[in-house]
């Protein structure tokens, strides 16, 4: 291995000259390759939100698909409105609400046949007015809309209507608030639940008036094999036009005159996210690139350094994007993360080489020699860091979520490209325009050292004087921070992650407060056989679960809904509205008759709650928006109750009974569970691989272990701070882990490869530390300074996740620098005798 490293060092040392001799060839191939990659960029497809990104055969995803296949999408736009006259039952409020209902339902009237509208996603609009109402009066059953054309005219009408509404326990909290001041319009959609097949147009375009007629076949031999359902994925951006058309309707003066609106649910949330945050993300990345360039200019005091760095970063990005485009991979919105990772890695590579170049120029080496030296010293380090960083990203393949795997793969591509472009292009770039004129004038020697060099030199003194105290100090800090790690919280609820003063978050809070909650959990009951849901015991078990949830979690669970509710309501109607008959009938035949009546009266609502063959049912649990902690508690309790009180007693009768928690909330939690664990695994794997690398490279087990210290410290610091300051581990803050791997480990490798070369060269520990600090240290500080300032731009985001991401990354990077440049040398000094490798390899140039 040692020989391999030596050979590689020689390869990198000779590389610049070889490249410079073939300058034109290098430039032409670089430009041609870049043009090829640019051509691929338009093919990049950004698609899917996080929920669509499970692996194909993931059990949680299959259950959710099964759910969507039976009951449709669980993505609901919930328009909550406040009556300006304080009463949603007043004639004006009702008329305005009915107007909205009509506008949302009849939007097609102004469209041509076949014309597409964002509102095509609406599958059902339910309001206080059109919600189905089954009324039992002596000898008759009235099945009608609750208000419909009977809009109240007098105060008496209003009082009567309110009384009637009170008799419907499922209305309050969904269609009106307890104090009647708020109302709700439930807009069901087909987002992410449109079967692939249904995409075939059913609008006539040919000559015949109906050219897509099918032939039916109901013969049993012609049964289609039921493939697992597959759904079209709706990209986040699709929510923007949907919400803007809805808002346009709501903003009509005839409605705003009487009502004020608060939109909640997945569509407004996704629309908000893609509208604001996605745009913001672009701005932030641009901003941080700009800041990085400005700082590069300040540190290097050179425009050519800025230009070449920019070129490397931009072409790396172009190459990555081009690769994604040519491969045809469909990316998630997290593609932005790839952009950012590539940016960070590209910057780091370029700075290391540029810094080294400048260091040697300041050591009075000429242009050619400087390039040669920096390639010899840093070329291998850059190569090794690229490998470890790429491993870090590739370890994301362990996350069973396709979109995250793609992030990992393409970030690794980015790392590889940045390395290639840096190593192969910088020599010819520097030849074209170097940060220092090629012939340094004699008097330039007197030039003062860079302020960072002065800083490093000051550190050296303390380092050698108090190595043990430094190690001890770090130990104390580490232990203190480690305690905080235990308070770490995981957060999967994105709503909890944005700033509290943003209107959309306020909407969610308001609706949680006055109405029946903003979050859905679905419980899928598969009885395992047709007509299973027509069994009184099943319905009673479901009812008991609902009662348990509503009484046990009074703060969080607002409403629950299932076939049990409508059964009770229908049975009551069959018994002339007798409140005592709001029960599930004991007799199976009576229950079947009751369900028959309900299905006849209201097939649409029936279909929402139970499958056509009555094999599968659904329990909708509406809760307030909760943190993951709350959700986990609720889900655990629900699962516990299901196991003990539903599955266990009913298994005898229904051996194939399966009750699954599903819907967006549990699934997101699952995604998150995968994410957090996988990130930890991914971090662990990377650390192991890196250690292995270091063991081999340094040819010393002890040194390898020491090398781990500066990598674990930033992680402990960040996690500890998060614990102490109650910053949750969420989708954004988790992304710190790969950045840490990308930067902290790189710092260590850069430092240790320099150190090891120095030791090999002259065997003097302290001299090796001094030289490594001055050469690699400068580059490490440059990179870290530039990147941490770049990351600080994230703190301007309106998304707290990004704010923390920026802040914590900055902290992590600074900690990594301190650990690599103070702790690591201190450890090496304190245990000097252990680490010195006393056999310098012959033939190495000794430099003092």
């Amino acid at each position: 291995m040692k020989i391999l490293f030596t050979n590689m060092r020689q390869f990198f040392e000779g590389l610049p000259e070889h490249l410079r001799n073939n300058q034109w060839k290098v430039w032409v191939s670089f430009i041609l390759l870049t043009i090829f990659m640019i051509a691929g960029i338009p093919k990049v497809k950004v698609d899917a939100n996080l929920l669509n990104s499970f692996e194909k055969d993931d059990a949680a995803k299959l259950a959710f698909d099964q759910f969507k296949d039976t009951f449709g999408s669980d993505e609901v736009l919930y328009i909550v409105y406040k009556a300006k006259d304080g009463d949603v039952f007043s004639r004006e409020s009702i008329l305005a609400m009915q107007g909205i209902e009509r506008d949302l339902e009849n939007y097609r009237k102004n469209l041509k046949e076949g014309e597409v509208s964002p509102l095509d996603h609406i599958t059902k609009v339910t309001t206080l007015s059109n919600t189905s109402y089954l009324e039992g009066k002596e000898g008759s059953i009235i099945s009608r809309d609750f208000i419909g054309t009977n809009v109240p005219k007098t105060i008496d009408d209003i009082t009567r209507l309110k009384k009637l509404a009170k008799g419907q326990p499922d209305y309050v909290g969904t269609y009106y608030s307890k104090d009647y001041s708020y109302g709700g319009i439930v807009v069901e959609t087909d987002f992410n639940a449109i079967p692939y097949e249904a995409e075939t147009k059913n609008v006539t375009t040919g000559n015949s008036l109906d050219d897509d007629e099918e032939i039916e076949s109901m013969e049993s031999s012609d049964f289609a094999v039921k493939n697992p359902p597959k759904f079209k994925q709706n990209i986040m951006k699709e929510y923007i036009p949907f919400m803007s058309v809805v808002s346009k309707i709501l903003n009509k003066p005839e409605y705003t005159k009487h009502l004020t609106f608060y939109n909640v649910g997945t569509p407004p949330w996704n629309s908000f996210i893609s509208n604001l945050v996605a745009k913001e993300m672009g701005l932030i990345i641009m901003g941080s690139l700009l800041i990085i360039l400005i700082f590069t200019a300040i540190i290097f005091r050179s425009f050519s350094a800025v230009l070449w760095q920019l070129s490397i970063v931009v072409t790396s990005l172009i190459w990555v994007m081009g690769t994604i485009g040519w491969i045809g991979a469909v990316m998630s919105d997290l593609l932005m993360m790839v952009v950012f990772f590539v940016l960070a890695v590209g910057v780091a590579d370029a700075i290391h080489i540029l810094s080294g170049y400048l260091y040697f120029r300041n050591q009075n080496l000429d242009h050619t020699e400087s390039i040669k030296s920096v390639y010899k010293k840093s070329g291998l380090a850059c190569f090794l860091t690229s490998i470890t960083t790429a491993i870090g990203f590739l370890s994301m393949l362990f996350i069973p979520i396709a979109s995250m795997q793609k992030i990992g793969i393409f970030s690794a591509f980015g790392v590889f490209y940045a390395f290639l472009i840096t190593v192969f292009m910088l020599p010819v770039m520097l030849d074209l325009w170097s940060p220092v004129t090629k012939k340094v004038k004699e008097n330039d020697k007197k030039r003062e050292d860079h302020f960072i060099q002065q800083m490093i030199q000051r550190v050296e003194k303390y380092l050698f004087r108090y190595p043990k105290s430094i190690v001890l100090g770090f130990l104390i800090v580490t232990i203190t921070l480690s305690i905080g790690v235990f308070d770490l919280n995981v957060e999967s609820n994105t709503i909890k992650v944005i700033k509290e003063d943003l209107p959309i978050r306020k909407n969610f809070a308001l609706v949680d407060d006055v109405m029946g909650g903003t979050q859905n959990m679905e419980i899928l009951v598969d009885t395992g056989r047709p007509d299973g849901m027509k069994n009184p015991e099943i319905l009673k078990a479901i009812e008991s679960l609902q009662i348990y949830l509503e009484t046990r979690f009074t703060d969080s669970v607002k409403t629950t809904m299932s076939l049990a509710n409508v059964t009770k309501d229908s049975f009551k109607s069959l018994n002339n509205g007798d409140q005592n008959k709001y029960i599930i009938p004991e007799d199976k035949a009576v229950l079947e008759n009751t369900l028959f009546l309900f299905n006849n009266a209201n097939p649409v609502d029936r279909r929402r709650l139970v499958s056509d063959d009555y094999q599968m049912g659904r329990i909708i649990v509406r809760t307030v928006s909760m943190s993951s902690k709350g959700n986990v508690a609720l889900m655990d309790a629900t699962q516990g109750f299901i196991d003990k009180n539903l599955e266990l007693p009913l298994k005898g009768q229904f051996p194939n009974l399966e009750i699954t928690l599903t819907g967006q909330t549990p699934l997101l939690l699952k995604v998150f569970d995968y994410l957090s664990w996988s990130f930890l695994i991914s971090f662990g794997i990377t650390i192991c691989v890196v250690s292995l690398f270091l063991f081999i490279m340094l040819n010393s087990f002890r040194l390898g272990v020491v090398a781990l210290i500066p990598n674990i410290l930033p992680v402990l610091t960040v996690l500890g701070i998060m614990g102490y300051f109650k910053i949750p581990l969420d989708i954004h803050t988790l992304m710190i882990v790969p950045v840490l791997i990308g930067i902290a480990v790189d710092d260590t490798i850069h430092f240790l490869t320099h150190y090891e070369l120095e030791i090999q060269t002259h065997g003097d520990n302290r001299l090796a530390i001094v030289n490594s600090l001055r050469e690699a240290g400068q580059a490490i500080i440059f990179t870290s300074l530039v990147l941490s300032i770049g990351f600080l731009i994230f703190t301007t985001s309106s998304n707290m996740g990004f704010v923390y991401f920026g802040l914590l990354n900055t902290i992590a990077i600074i900690t990594a620098v301190v650990a690599d440049l103070i702790l690591l040398p201190a450890v090496l000094t304190a245990h000097e005798k252990t680490f010195i490798i006393k056999t310098p390899i012959a033939g190495e140039v000794v430099r003092s």
């Binding site: 339902e105 009849n106 939007y107 097609r108 009237k109 469209l111 046949e113 039992g136 000898g139 008759s140 059953i141 009235i142 099945s143 009608r144 809309d145 419909g148 054309t149 009977n150 079967p195 097949e197 249904a198 075939t200 059913n202 609008v203 015949s208 008036l209 109906d210 897509d212 007629e213 099918e214 032939i215 039916e216 076949s217 109901m218 049993s220 012609d222 049964f223 289609a224 039921k226 047709p530 007509d531 027509k534 069959l574 007799d587 035949a589 009576v590 079947e592 008759n593 009751t594 028959f596 009546l597 299905n599 006849n600 009266a601 209201n602 097939p603 649409v604 279909r607 056509d612 063959d613």
Partner: protein
């Protein structure tokens, strides 16, 4: 009577067709002939309704699950001055869990008069009158839990729509008129649909295909009638398929057996038939013998 009218109409059409190639029958008259086509004074039918979710396979709709089957018997008798009102009783035979559930329905030609409907729930032993919808609201309840709703099963009323001839084309190998029906403003408040396209057999005046547009003017259902046959001198189509494009489910209605113009006593079409099983069976037995 009506068949003679239709016959005359065909002659007229053919005659005028011969002397003037530009001539075409007015759409309203075509609809009148189709709606008023002779369907017997009484009708006894045994129906099978199979419903399933489907998926499309090479333009073929294939069930993705075992179809749910309902078998029922229906007895209809026309009343009123022009025999345009009717009473209909329907009793479920299968599935076993719903056996004995029945409907009694009175339909009126007078568009101001609402359909009367009663349901008998056998397990509860209760008859309930069903009032569906508020005033001016469509009746969207499902017909025995199938993809047909009550409106789809009712005979149409000529006065409810305005008509337009859209095209003449061949369908099911037959020459057809394609007629668009738009509900009058009055009917549009009651109907589930905003537009209907019908393919009407030029010779037999049978509805071969109907496409229904929901209130949002979206094409939602396609009904195809096929397997035509003459029973007791009356054209029937043994099979009727409802494709609900919105829910991606279909129901096939099959007339397993039918007989027209058998004498049905007025007192058979009353609530007693629903509740009194012995009385019902005694009468139905007679009809069953003549079913074809």
């Amino acid at each position: 009577m009506r068949s003679i009218k239709s016959y005359l109409l065909i002659i007229t059409v053919t005659f005028f067709g011969l002397i003037s190639t530009g001539f075409s029958e007015t759409p309203k008259e075509i609809m009148r002939s189709a709606i008023d086509r002779d369907d017997g004074k009484t009708q006894v039918t045994r129906l099978t309704l199979s419903s399933c979710r489907y998926s499309k396979k090479n333009r073929k709709l294939v069930c993705t699950e075992r179809p749910r089957v309902k078998i029922m018997e229906g007895i209809r008798k026309d009343f009123g001055p022009d025999q345009k009102d009717s009473k209909l009783i329907t009793i479920l035979l299968e599935p076993a869990s719903e056996r004995g559930i029945g409907f009694l329905q009175f339909d009126y030609d007078d568009i101001d008069k609402e359909t009367d409907q009663w349901i008998y729930l056998s397990a509860l032993g209760k008859v309930k009158r069903i009032i569906s919808g508020n005033e001016y609201e469509p009746r969207d309840g499902s017909f025995f839990g199938t993809e047909f709703n009550y409106e789809d099963m009712e005979s149409r009323n000529l006065k409810n729509c305005t008509y337009k001839l859209l095209a003449e084309e061949k369908y099911q190998g037959r020459d057809c008129w394609v007629i668009e029906s738009i509900p009058t403003s009055r009917w549009s408040k009651r109907s589930n649909y905003s537009k209907t396209l019908d393919w009407i057999d030029k010779e037999r005046f049978l509805f071969l295909k109907t496409i229904l547009y929901n209130r949002q003017v979206k094409r939602v259902k396609r009904i195809t009638n096929y397997a035509p046959e003459k029973v007791n001198g009356i054209w029937i189509q043994r099979k009727r398929l409802m494709n609900n494009m919105e829910t991606r489910r279909m129901t096939r209605l099959t007339i397993d057996a039918v007989v027209f113009n058998v004498p049905v006593r007025d007192d058979f079409l009353t609530l007693r038939t629903l509740t009194d099983k012995a009385f019902r069976e005694k009468n139905i037995k007679k009809f069953r013998k003549s079913l074809k």
